[in-house]
C-alpha cells in the first residue's frame, strides 16, 4: 500500500513541486499518473523511491514510514520497489543477463538462485533468447524490457514506471503496457507516469491527474481527458 499524507515538496530554489498531496493506492492496483510536464508526476515517483525527501507530510509504503528511514536503510528499502525509467538506465558494457543479474548480486542472492530468477524474468519479458546480447545491439523496446526484467527480478511489491513508453513507437508502447498489466496481475502494484493518451484510454485503469503540484483528479477506470 502507498499512502501520501499532506505531502509537500519544495526545492531549494523555492519551486513547490508538490503541494499537500493526499493519496492512497491499495496493494495490487494499477494507477496511471498523468499531467503535463513539470506537474509533479516524476517528483512523486522519486519521493516513493527515496531519491528525494519530502519537505513536509508523510509517505508510508507498506511497513515503511519513509521519513523515519535512515540513509543506510534506503538500499534495503529500495529492494522492495522496482523502478523503470524512460531512458532505461542500463549498463552498456554488460550483457542483458548481467544487467538483470546485477540487481540480485547487490542483494547477495546465491549464484544458483540468480540464474533461476534472471531466466524467469527474461522469459516473462520475452528476451530469454537474447540474454547474451549487449543493450546497444537491441531496439528501444527491447532495452525497456531489460529494464522491466531488472525491476521485477527480485519480485518487488511495487513497480514505479516513469514514462516507460516515452521513447517508444506506438506498437512497442502497447507491448510494454501489456507486459506491465501482466506483471500487475502477478500481485504487483504498478504506478505508471505517462503522457500517452491512447494507452490510458485503451486500457482503462485508475487515473490520478496532477497539475501544478496538486491532485486535480482521481478516477477509478478513468480516461486521459476528463
Amino acid at each position: 500500500m502507498i499512502s501520501f499524507k499532506s505531502v509537500t515538496k519544495t526545492y531549494p530554489n523555492g519551486f513547490k513541486a508538490l503541494d499537500k498531496i493526499n493519496l492512497v493506492v491499495p496493494e495490487n492496483e494499477f494507477v496511471y499518473l498523468i499531467g503535463p510536464s513539470g506537474a509533479g508526476k516524476s517528483t512523486m515517483l522519486r519521493l516513493v523511491f527515496m531519491e528525494e525527501q519530502v519537505t513536509s507530510g508523510e509517505i508510508v509504503i507498506d511497513k515503511y514510514i519513509l521519513g523515519q528511514l535512515i540513509e543506510s536503510q534506503i538500499p534495503y528499502y529500495r529492494r522492495n520497489i522496482g523502478m523503470i525509467f524512460q531512458d532505461y538506465k542500463l549498463l552498456p558494457r554488460r550483457t542483458v543477463y548481467e544487467n538483470v543479474a546485477f540487481a540480485l548480486h547487490v542483494m547477495h542472492v546465491p549464484p544458483k538462485k540468480i540464474k533461476q530468477q534472471v531466466n524467469y524474468a527474461l522469459d516473462l519479458v520475452g528476451l530469454i533468447g537474447k540474454s547474451h546480447h549487449y543493450p546497444r545491439e537491441l531496439s528501444g523496446g527491447e532495452q525497456q524490457k531489460i529494464c522491466i526484467a531488472r525491476a521485477i527480478v527480485n519480485q518487488p511489491s511495487i513497480l514505479l514506471c516513469d514514462e516507460p513508453t516515452g521513447n517508444l513507437d506506438p506498437e512497442t508502447s502497447w507491448e510494454i503496457v501489456h507486459l506491465l498489466t501482466k506483471i500487475n496481475a502477478h500481485n504487483t502494484t504498478v504506478i505508471m507516469a505517462t503522457h500517452d493518451t491512447e494507452i490510458v484510454d485503451g486500457i482503462p485503469k485508475r487515473v490520478i491527474a496532477v497539475e501544478k503540484g496538486r491532485l486535480s483528479r482521481d478516477q477509478v477506470l478513468g480516461t486521459y481527458v476528463e
Binding site: P75, M107, H108, P111
Partner: protein, 294 residues
C-alpha cells in the same frame, strides 16, 4: 557462503573494471610506483644518514687521565663504578706504558727516547657512551672524583652538534616521510578518482537497484589494493636493484662509511614501502569512491 560469493563477485567486478579502464589502471600503478620510489629513496638516504650519525655517536669517548698515586686496585674499582653509570657503554683501562709506547710509535721520527727518559703519561680510562645526549651529565658526575682524576678530555662541542644533527634528522626525516605519504595519497586519490568517475553512471545504477554503499565500495577497494600492491612491488624492485648497485660502488670507494647493507634493515624499509602502497591504494580508492557516493 554469502560473503564468499560476494567476495568472488567483487573480484570479478574488479577485473572487469581493470579490463575496461586498462590505461587508467596503468597510469594509477605508475603513479603509485613513482611516488613510492621517491618515498623509498628518501627512507634509504635517511636510514644511511642515521647510521652514520649513530656511528659517530658510538665513537664518542671521554678520556680520563688519572692521578699518579693510584694503585691498580683503585683504578679497577673506579672503572667498575664508572661502568655502572647509565649511558656508559664501556670503560677501557689504558696502561701508561702501553700509551707511551703507542705515542712513541706514532711519532717515531721525533726519536723521543733521546729527550725523555721517563714515561710522562699517566694511566687513563676511556669511556664509551651509548648516547651523545648523556655526555654533559656524565661529565658533570665524573668531575666530582677530583681526587682520582687529573684531567678530562672529550669532544664536547662535536658531540653536542652530532646530537642536534641526529635529532633534526629524526624529526625532519619523519616529517618529510609523512608529507611524502600525504602527497602520494593526494596523487593516488585523484588518479583512482578518474577510474571511479568513468564508472559514475554504473555507481548510480547500483544505488538504484538497492546496492549498499559498502557493496559499491567493495570492488573499488580491492582495485585500490591491487593498484597499490602492484605499484609498490615495482617500486621495491627498482629500489632493491638500484640500491644494491649504488651501495656496492659506494662501499668500494668509501669503505670507512657505515652504509646500510644488511638485509634486515633493508627488509623493513622495503616492507614499509610495500605496506604503504597497499594502504595508500585502498585509502585512495575509499576516498575517491566516497566522493562519488555523496
Amino acid at each position: 557462503m554469502t560473503n564468499f560469493n560476494t567476495f568472488i563477485f567483487f573480484l570479478k567486478e574488479t577485473f572487469i573494471g581493470f579490463k575496461r579502464s586498462t590505461l587508467m589502471t596503468l597510469i594509477a600503478i605508475a603513479t603509485v610506483s613513482v611516488t613510492l620510489i621517491i618515498l623509498g629513496l628518501f627512507m634509504l638516504i635517511s636510514a644511511n644518514l642515521g647510521k652514520v650519525t649513530q656511528d659517530i655517536v658510538s665513537r664518542l669517548e671521554i678520556r680520563l687521565f688519572l692521578k699518579s698515586n693510584l694503585t691498580v686496585e683503585d683504578i679497577q674499582l673506579f672503572r667498575r663504578k664508572l661502568k655502572s653509570i647509565d649511558g656508559v657503554k664501556d670503560v677501557v683501562f689504558i696502561n701508561n706504558a702501553t700509551a707511551w709506547n703507542k705515542f712513541q710509535d706514532n711519532y717515531s721520527h721525533l726519536n723521543l727516547k733521546e729527550y725523555i727518559s721517563e714515561n710522562p703519561l699517566p694511566h687513563s680510562l676511556n669511556l664509551q657512551l651509548n648516547r651523545a645526549k648523556d655526555l654533559n651529565s656524565i661529565i658533570l658526575y665524573i668531575k666530582r672524583f677530583d681526587t682520582i682524576i687529573d684531567d678530562i678530555v672529550y669532544g664536547g662541542e662535536l658531540a653536542n652538534r652530532v646530537e642536534i644533527f641526529r635529532r633534526v634528522m629524526f624529526v625532519s626525516g619523519w616529517s618529510l616521510i609523512a608529507l611524502l605519504i600525504l602527497a602520494s595519497l593526494f596523487i593516488i586519490v585523484n588518479t583512482i578518482r578518474l577510474t571511479v568517475m568513468a564508472r559514475d553512471e554504473e555507481i548510480s545504477i547500483m544505488q538504484l537497484v538497492g546496492a549498499t554503499n559498502r557493496f559499491i565500495k567493495g570492488p573499488f577497494l580491492i582495485e585500490g589494493f591491487i593498484i597499490g600492491v602492484f605499484g609498490a612491488t615495482i617500486a621495491v624492485g627498482f629500489l632493491y636493484f638500484s640500491y644494491s648497485i649504488i651501495i656496492y660502488q659506494l662501499i668500494e670507494k668509501m669503505p670507512f662509511f657505515p652504509f646500510i647493507s644488511n638485509h634486515s634493515t633493508l627488509f623493513y624499509i622495503y616492507g614499509f614501502v610495500l605496506l604503504s602502497g597497499a594502504f595508500i591504494g585502498m585509502l585512495g580508492a575509499y576516498i575517491s569512491v566516497s566522493k562519488s557516493l555523496k
